[in-house]
């Protein structure tokens, strides 16, 4: 684990003694890295976070931060900043007093704590709101205070559990940028939990996809998007066409694809597919209006068109399967339900997933 700053190995955790909320979860993060836990509700993201923070004890496995085992270290001695989903601001204290709290707990003299807390409020853009109580702040502002409070004591790690879930879309996107900016400025190793794949894509250096207490994939956002390891990941991250595929000629890279017939795929992918069986992932944007040189072609019988302005989603059928294609907004002009649209895709725009 070269350079691993946060190291988690083989975490197992069961709340009821029967089902495993965490089933051998292992991952690591380098110093300053922004890692996102992505997964559906109940997949074990929060549990992992709570084990890192020390609020839940794992049944097995270890957590190491900066080379030190956290076993037996109580939460208040871990020095880990946590931003909770509901912010958990102290309602009886002002924003400034909230941010001062961790400093006072560390016996920083009051005047110095106030100064440092004010600086941190300034960094999150709330310099003028120090005297307000949490209930006098908007959701986004409360979020910033919670962030300032979790960062003011120079935590070894910053953990955020679905911090933007309660905010509306515009504010959420604004806060994503803000969090990223602050995280970069302070270079703090961060674990961010979300079930929103676009949020994960936008923020992360690395995404760890959870499902059913297990890690499905741990990779960069682009890797997760372009080369998902499992169908689950392919479905969970981004829009997808998933078609059964059987390799008929590994050397030439020919596969028999459900609905599309014999198709050209990348030989290096075809050759490593176990049993020659698998699933072909075609992202909707991989299906482009057919060009003369497209090795794979099909005609989509359009049933529905969803316009987004810059692009449009065509939903239709080809060879008995339903396909989704995302094409440029201009190219989509004049296409309506009932149209027959020739489309093509290139082998390197597709991805084969082992069955």
């Amino acid at each position: 684990m070269d350079g691993a700053y946060l190291e988690i190995r083989d975490l197992v955790k069961s709340y009821d003694g029967k089902t495993r909320a965490l089933d051998r979860v292992s991952l690591s993060a380098r110093r300053g890295e922004f890692v996102t836990f992505l997964g559906p509700s109940g997949s074990g993201k929060t549990t992992t976070l709570m084990v890192i923070a020390g609020f839940e004890a794992p049944d097995a496995g270890l957590v190491r931060v900066a080379g030190q085992s956290m076993a037996g270290v109580p939460p208040h001695k871990r020095g880990i900043g946590v931003v909770f989903q509901n912010y958990a601001l102290f309602p009886h204290r002002t924003a400034l007093q909230n941010v001062m709290f961790p400093l006072l707990m560390r016996k920083v003299p009051r005047a110095q704590a106030a100064r440092k807390a004010a600086e941190m409020l300034d960094l999150v853009g709330l310099a003028d709101f120090g005297n307000r109580h949490p209930r006098q702040l908007s959701g986004g502002q409360q979020q910033r205070v919670a962030l300032a409070r979790a960062l003011v004591f120079d935590p070894t790690l910053l953990l955020l559990d679905e911090p933007l879930g309660a905010l509306d879309k515009n504010l959420r996107e604004q806060m994503q940028l803000e969090i990223k900016r602050i995280q970069r400025a302070l270079h703090v190793t961060t674990v961010f939990v979300t079930h929103d794949q676009s949020e994960a894509m936008a923020l992360s250096d690395r995404i760890v996809v959870f499902e059913g207490g297990r890690i499905q994939q741990d990779a960069t956002p682009l890797e997760i998007y372009n080369r998902p390891r499992t169908e689950f990941v392919a479905r969970f991250v981004g829009d997808s066409n998933l078609l059964r595929a059987r390799i008929t000629d590994p050397g030439a890279g020919i596969a028999e694809v459900e609905g599309l017939g014999p198709s050209r795929v990348l030989p290096q992918q075809a050759q490593v597919l176990p049993n020659g069986q698998g699933t072909l992932l075609l992202r909707p944007e991989a299906l482009a209006p057919a060009e003369a040189d497209a090795p794979n072609r099909l005609v989509l019988a359009v049933e529905e068109v969803v316009h987004f302005g810059d692009s449009a989603l065509l939903i239709g059928r080809a060879g008995g399967v339903t396909l989704r294609a995302r094409i440029g907004g201009r190219a989509a002009q004049g296409i309506g339900a009932g149209a027959q649209v020739p489309l093509g895709w290139r082998p390197d725009a597709a991805h084969l997933i082992g069955a």
Binding site: V82, N86, A88, F90, F101, M105, A150, F153
Partner: protein
């Protein structure tokens, strides 16, 4: 519906509408409506140690009851809200029992029990008996506010470097403060206006205000009683109002 509501409100308030005017009467005996107005009953009340002493007794007892109740109820409420343990249902039921047992039964029980241990007619005796009556109400109030308490606040405090006792002191207690105050208030009021048990277990030197009123009306229908009623109502209403204002200010 609205008319009915007013009717009920009037019915509830009627005794006050009688008692408060009478307290400002200038008549020699209890009379309604008062023939003329004055403060003679108030003068009589404040000048007469047979009234002021029971008032002081009641204040002492109610304060002690509030304190003792909180000492008992706080750990009980935390244990019952936050932990699972065997016999939890039974403990809950026992705590609420004084609420359903008729006061006269409790009064007789305490009469026998306190005389056995030699505390009959003593301050500790009255305080103990009243505390038993105050526990259920205070427990209910505190439990309700404890259930509404967001425990992630404590987790947040821990993650920020507070030891568990610091989290309790700096976060749990201040946030739950209105709940504690309301519980103590209910305990205080419960004791301050309790009559039946006081009649049985308080004595000449520990006589409470409601008991003094009861004795007084039995013997002579002293009009000062209207003053005491008004004051009693005033204290309780003021406390209730304070609690309400606090809640509103607290958001």
């Amino acid at each position: 519906m609205i008319a009915l509501g007013w009717l009920v409100a009037m019915f509830v308030a009627a005794p006050l509408l009688v008692v408060i005017p009478i307290s400002f009467s200038d008549a020699v005996s209890l009379e309604f409506p008062p023939p003329s107005w004055g403060l003679r009953y108030y003068q009589a009340y404040f000048a007469d140690p047979r009234w002021t002493q029971p008032t002081i007794n009641s204040l002492i007892i109610a304060t002690a009851v509030a304190a003792l109740t909180m000492v008992l109820v706080t750990p009980a409420a935390f244990a019952l809200v936050r932990h699972r343990f065997g016999g939890k249902g039974a403990v809950n039921l026992l705590l609420m029992l004084p609420m359903v047992v008729p006061h006269i039964v409790i009064a007789i029980g305490y009469y026998a029990f306190l005389s056995d241990i030699g505390l009959l007619q003593s301050f500790p005796g009255v305080i103990l008996a009243h505390t038993a009556l105050s526990v259920p109400v205070a427990f209910l109030v505190l439990t309700a506010s404890l259930k509404g308490f967001d425990r992630t606040l404590e987790r947040a405090a821990l993650s920020l470097g507070a030891a568990p006792w610091q989290a309790f002191l700096h976060v749990t207690v201040p946030v739950l403060w209105p709940g504690f105050a309301a519980a103590a208030l209910f305990a205080f009021v419960q004791s301050f206006d309790e009559t039946v048990v006081a009649i049985f277990v308080s004595g000449a030197t520990t006589e409470t205000l409601p008991r003094r009123m009861f004795d007084s009306i039995r013997m002579q229908a002293d009009p000062v009683i209207a003053v005491v009623s008004t004051l009693l109502f005033g204290v309780v209403a003021l406390l209730a109002l304070a609690a309400m204002l606090r809640r509103r200010a607290g958001g």
